[in-house]
């Protein structure tokens, strides 16, 4: 709008109309937040104690058990979030664009750049199970 343009009534309402978008955006974002909160589940996964050696899948995680310990990764590819569910020659392969990861989660072939997200877990001695915290 040029400064020399007159602020007619119609123009005023038009600007006001556009300005109303802002509280709507605020409302929209708050609504989403509250909705997420309402539907947030306890995001944990329970795994049995005798996890198998090597790589295995339990959706939505990948378990890598080796002599030096257990690592649990999110099965979502760090490129664009596809669920990885395939092993070939000991490598984890994403079916969507072919990223490859080693059993320690590191990337050996792109397009992915980031290693798999490692998830923290605890061992519940009483129940004798692993509890994995899903992010």
């Amino acid at each position: 709008m040029h400064l020399d343009q007159k602020l007619t009534r119609e123009r005023f309402f038009k600007i006001l109309g556009y300005a109303l978008v802002l509280p709507f955006i605020y409302g929209w974002i708050s609504m989403l937040k509250q909705n997420r909160l309402l539907h947030s589940k306890t995001n944990t996964l329970v795994l049995p104690p005798d996890l198998p050696e090597g790589l295995s899948f339990v959706e939505p995680v990948i378990i890598s058990k080796k002599s030096d310990g257990i690592k649990i990764f999110s099965a979502r590819c760090t490129h664009l979030g596809c669920m990885i569910n395939h092993i070939q020659d000991g490598h984890l392969i994403c079916p969507c664009h072919g990223s490859e990861y080693l059993s320690d989660g590191s990337v050996i072939k792109g397009p992915s750049k980031e290693p798999l997200h490692e998830l923290s877990y605890t061992f519940d001695k009483e129940r004798g199970v692993f509890i994995v915290k899903l992010v």
Partner: protein, 917 residues
């Protein structure tokens, strides 16, 4: 003239504008969508879509109409947009309207994509995840935007609302604003309805069976999928899309000069995108690998696009009563007809995995023809194992392992054969049967040996027999029960060959018997027959009429009874020693069998506590096997194979440290014995392997000749086809005598030399005449080889060989059969061979090395295996000299095991040491 014809054809096909086509398809899509919404259930979308496809033929028809009209709506919308962009010089559109039209283009893609996601199959779920990641990568509002468009994880309600309402209403408004009509033209609409109906009657709208490992987005985003493959920062793709939209939006407002540049950019980008789409559609296979369209599993077995929709006005009574069979959330039409099928192992029951998991076909159709379309009748052959046994939910890592294992590659056999024909320079080349060429060596291999590889497909129903070769997974895992055999007989006898007669299915299990191995392993090294105590003869059936002690194999070879292996006598099967990693490979490529086989006698017969693993420490595969076989208890500690570090699931120590082996098939418990004290007394025999002493006999064949016969009809065992001309083998004499001994010598990583005395048999003692093959005459066409091979004969006896049977035995020493004597006068050893000397190397026909001679040149089928050197022969014969007088169980000889040098120092006056030079 041609121009007129061209115009006429064009007018005939494009009887209306792209815009009206687009409107027409939009309308068809909306109306068919309303019908489709009735059977579609947004709470279980995949299940409801598969139900529609299977049990609701009119529902299927509406779904097909909805799908095809949508695809054409998109195509014509894009064409129409391009038409507009081309005409921007002439057509004036208001800025606001042009903005909304540009936006409509984006919305059109979104309405399509949301429809793609709503079928909720494997492709859709991955697409949803990708979209979520892409939107979330938009700064500030990304996550909220994604949540508002895609909704909660695993919930399709929001997407559904956007698909049927938001986007549809928006597009309807835009269409109306843009063209001032919502109906288009009646004639066009009518033709399009007919066209879409016909198309929908013939071609099925796709649904992923959630088994095929290939994941693809909708066809119009396959180009984008390719682009994303190259983008490590995928957010860039959103910028590209935004850029394209901005380009389109600003196009009418830019100056003519720039406009032309913009248009060209758009056009070339479109062409590039088209090429990428074609690549994505036809050339991308599993794991993003490049494949040719005819090899592409996506287009091959698992998905059925080309199936005529089957429309029946009457609903299937049976289906409405019993409901649609569901397996893993997938509707499985196969079970409608094949529901009572019995005979499966628990893991393979159709109720658990369905039929399509193994057999492919189309589980979303109840019409026989359609359901059986592209079905794999005998799954498990290695060529399609990845799409049957090896799918993601089943045994995904096995096919590639098996493909690298020796039973598939035949690497050692091919390499040795080529070496013998002077077509390979070393004995340590890795080869694969699939790379066999058309040379003298490879043709020799094709004619005589190439049937026995796991990739050789099983092509007919029925159990494995002595004549079976290869067969992929079935080679080991297929078992026919009596009932399954009977059902097969009924089927074979029937005229119509209706597979519904096969009420009993053969089982696929871990019940792998010696008979499974017998077909291939009763040949070449003949370990299967030797293990059972049978030795091949050159007799004919007529020779043994009314005679006992013979066995006629299904291939008519006659075997005679010799002693069987002690493990066989005890009831042990091949799989009791050879575990899954040895048989199916462990992801490594091996040159020769002794490197892939990890079991050693010492793994079970130990006198020191062995390394063990608890159940929780087992690898995934061993856990599976241990669970299925149920041989162990929670307290069992599984003994580890020292060569591989893999635990044996049937060999363990109990609470009292007692070691047991449980027969995997028999369940019989065998306490394990430690080696006898004599085996480890002193250091004299440290280098001697167990089998060197405990092998009772080994089959051997001498004097073999190979010739090419150009006029003889042959059979290429690899290609399974008849050929003109064939290599023929003329076998010599078969013998069953204790084996020759040789030395396996390796340099260890620390530089030390390791030596092990092992058993050997004549591997390739033969003459080859290549002249008829090469059509060249001359001496260089004639090959003579005398190569021995390391071989575990599988004829173990409890008692070891006597001392004399090695130290005073010409066969053990490598001289061949004959008379080995010691002359007390001259104190010299003499040898009179039984067989004539071969004119090619002047050695007796069955010898490996000359009597008290150093063998040089080529002598073995392995680079690390050799006959005894002259010095070693002298050492052995020196002990042999003592044994001429001293009893091997006497004090002198027993003590000599501890310190032979000391024994030599304390010689009596009667002792005669040999003179060698």
């Amino acid at each position: 003239m041609t121009e007129t014809v061209r115009r006429k054809i064009k007018d005939l096909i494009f009887f209306d504008t792209y815009g009206y086509f687009s409107i027409g398809f939009f309308l068809i899509c909306v109306v068919s969508g309303i019908f489709l919404a009735i059977p579609f259930d947004v709470n279980s979308p995949y299940s409801s879509v598969s139900s529609i496809m299977l049990g609701n033929s009119w529902g299927t028809f509406f779904r097909n109409v909805h799908y095809w009209s949508a695809q054409f709506f998109l195509i014509f919308s894009v064409l129409h947009a391009w038409e507009y962009i081309r005409k921007t010089d002439r057509v004036q559109v208001k800025r606001g309207v042009w903005f909304r039209l540009t936006l409509a283009l984006l919305v059109s893609f979104w309405v399509m994509l949301s429809g793609f996601i709503l079928k909720a199959d494997a492709d859709s779920l991955q697409a949803q995840r990708i979209l979520d990641s892409l939107l979330s990568s938009i700064p500030l509002v990304g996550k909220s935007l994604s949540y508002s468009i895609l909704g909660r994880d695993g919930n399709f309600q929001i997407i559904y609302v956007h698909h049927i309402a938001t986007t549809t209403i928006f597009l309807a408004i835009i269409i109306f604003e843009h063209s001032r009509t919502i109906w288009g033209k009646w004639k066009t609409l009518l033709i399009l309805v007919l066209f879409t109906s016909l198309l929908s009657f013939i071609f099925q709208a796709p649904l992923h069976n959630n088994l095929d490992p290939v994941i693809k987005g909708p066809w119009y985003f396959l180009g984008l999928q390719e682009i994303l493959h190259w983008l490590s920062f995928p957010g860039t793709s959103l910028l590209i899309i935004l850029l394209v939209l901005l380009l389109i939006y600003f196009l009418p407002q830019t100056k003519y000069r720039y406009r032309m540049v913009f248009k060209r950019t758009l056009l070339y980008s479109f062409y590039i995108y088209l090429i990428l789409t074609l690549i994505g559609l036809f050339f991308r296979g599993e794991n993003w690998q490049w494949t040719w369209p005819w090899e592409n599993p996506y287009l091959k077995t698992m998905r059925n696009y080309v199936t005529p929709a089957f429309i029946s006005p009457n609903p299937d009574e049976k289906l409405s009563k019993e409901g649609l069979p569901t397996v893993m959330d997938r509707k499985e039409s196969c079970l409608i007809c094949h529901d009572g099928m019995k005979g499966f192992s628990p893991a393979h029951k159709p109720q658990a995995i369905g039929c399509v998991s193994c057999h492919g076909g189309n589980s979303f159709s109840s019409d026989k023809e359609q359901a059986h379309h592209k079905m794999v009748l005998i799954p498990g052959n290695l060529a399609d194992a990845k799409r049957s046994c090896g799918t993601t939910d089943c045994h995904p890592e096995i096919p590639s392992r098996v493909d690298q294992s020796l039973m598939s590659t035949l690497s050692g056999m091919i390499n040795v054969n080529r070496y013998v024909f002077d077509e390979a320079n070393t004995l340590s080349e890795v080869a694969h049967v699939h790379e066999l060429g058309q040379t003298a060596a490879d043709n020799h291999f094709r004619d005589l040996c190439a049937a026995c590889h796991l990739g050789n497909p099983k092509v007919s129903f029925g159990p494995n027999t002595e004549l079976s070769r290869g067969g992929g997974c079935n080679a080991c895992h297929l078992n026919y029960s009596k009932e399954a055999g009977k059902a097969l007989n009924t089927y074979n006898m029937s005229e119509k060959k209706d597979t519904a007669l096969l009420k009993f299915h053969p089982s696929l299990s871990l019940n792998i018997t010696n008979d499974h191995c017998f077909g291939c392993h009763s040949r070449s090294g003949r370990i299967s027959t030797s293990y059972e105590g049978w030795h091949e003869t050159s007799l004919d059936k007529e020779d043994i009429i009314n005679k006992s002690g013979f066995r006629i194999l299904e291939d008519d070879r006659i075997f005679t009874r010799v002693s069987d292996d002690v493990h066989h006598r005890k009831g042990l099967d091949c799989i009791d020693c050879h575990n899954s990693y040895e048989l199916m490979g462990d992801d490594n490529s091996y040159h020769h069998k002794e490197t892939q086989v990890k079991i050693q006698c010492e793994d079970c017969h130990f006198n020191k506590p062995p390394e063990t693993k608890k159940y929780a420490e087992l690898d995934k595969e061993s856990v599976k096997i241990a669970d299925l076989k149920k041989n162990s208890t929670p307290a069992s500690r599984f003994v580890v194979k020292s060569k591989s570090g893999i635990a044996m699931t049937n060999v363990f120590l109990n609470e009292n440290d007692t070691a047991f082996l449980v027969g995997k098939n028999s369940g019989k418990i065998h306490p394990l014995k430690a080696p006898a004290e004599i085996c480890t007394r002193g250091e004299a025999h440290n280098k001697v392997s167990c089998s060197a002493c405990h092998t009772a006999w080994a089959p051997r064949c001498i004097g073999c000749h190979n010739e090419y016969e150009p006029q003889t009809e042959g059979f290429d065992l690899y290609a399974n086809k008849y050929t003109k001309g064939s290599w023929i083998e003329y076998a010599g004499k078969y013998l069953a005598i204790p084996p020759t001994l040789g030395v396996e010598q390796d340099i260890l990583p620390d530089g030390e030399v390791s030596q092990k005395i092992k058993t050997a048999v004549p591997g390739m003692v033969l003459t080859i005449d290549k002249s008829a093959y090469t059509h060249v005459k001359g001496e260089d066409q004639f090959i003579f080889k005398r190569l021995f091979a390391p071989a575990e004969a599988h004829t173990t006896q409890t008692r070891g060989r006597s001392c004399k049977s090695c130290h005073n035995d010409p066969v053990a020493l490598g001289y061949g059969e004959g008379n080995l004597t010691f002359n007390k006068e001259s104190r010299k050893w003499n040898f009179q061979p039984k067989y004539q000397k071969n004119k090619n190397d002047n050695l007796p026909e069955d010898a490996w090395t000359g009597f008290l001679k150093e063998r040089i040149g080529e002598f073995s089928t392995r680079e690390n295996f050799r006959p005894f050197t002259l010095k070693e022969q002298e050492k052995i014969l020196t002990v042999g000299t003592c044994l001429n007088c001293h009893d091997e169980t006497g004090e002198i000889m027993i003590n000599s095991l501890i310190n032979f040098q000391m024994t030599l120092k304390n010689l009596s006056k009667f002792c005669l040491l040999p003179v060698f030079r």
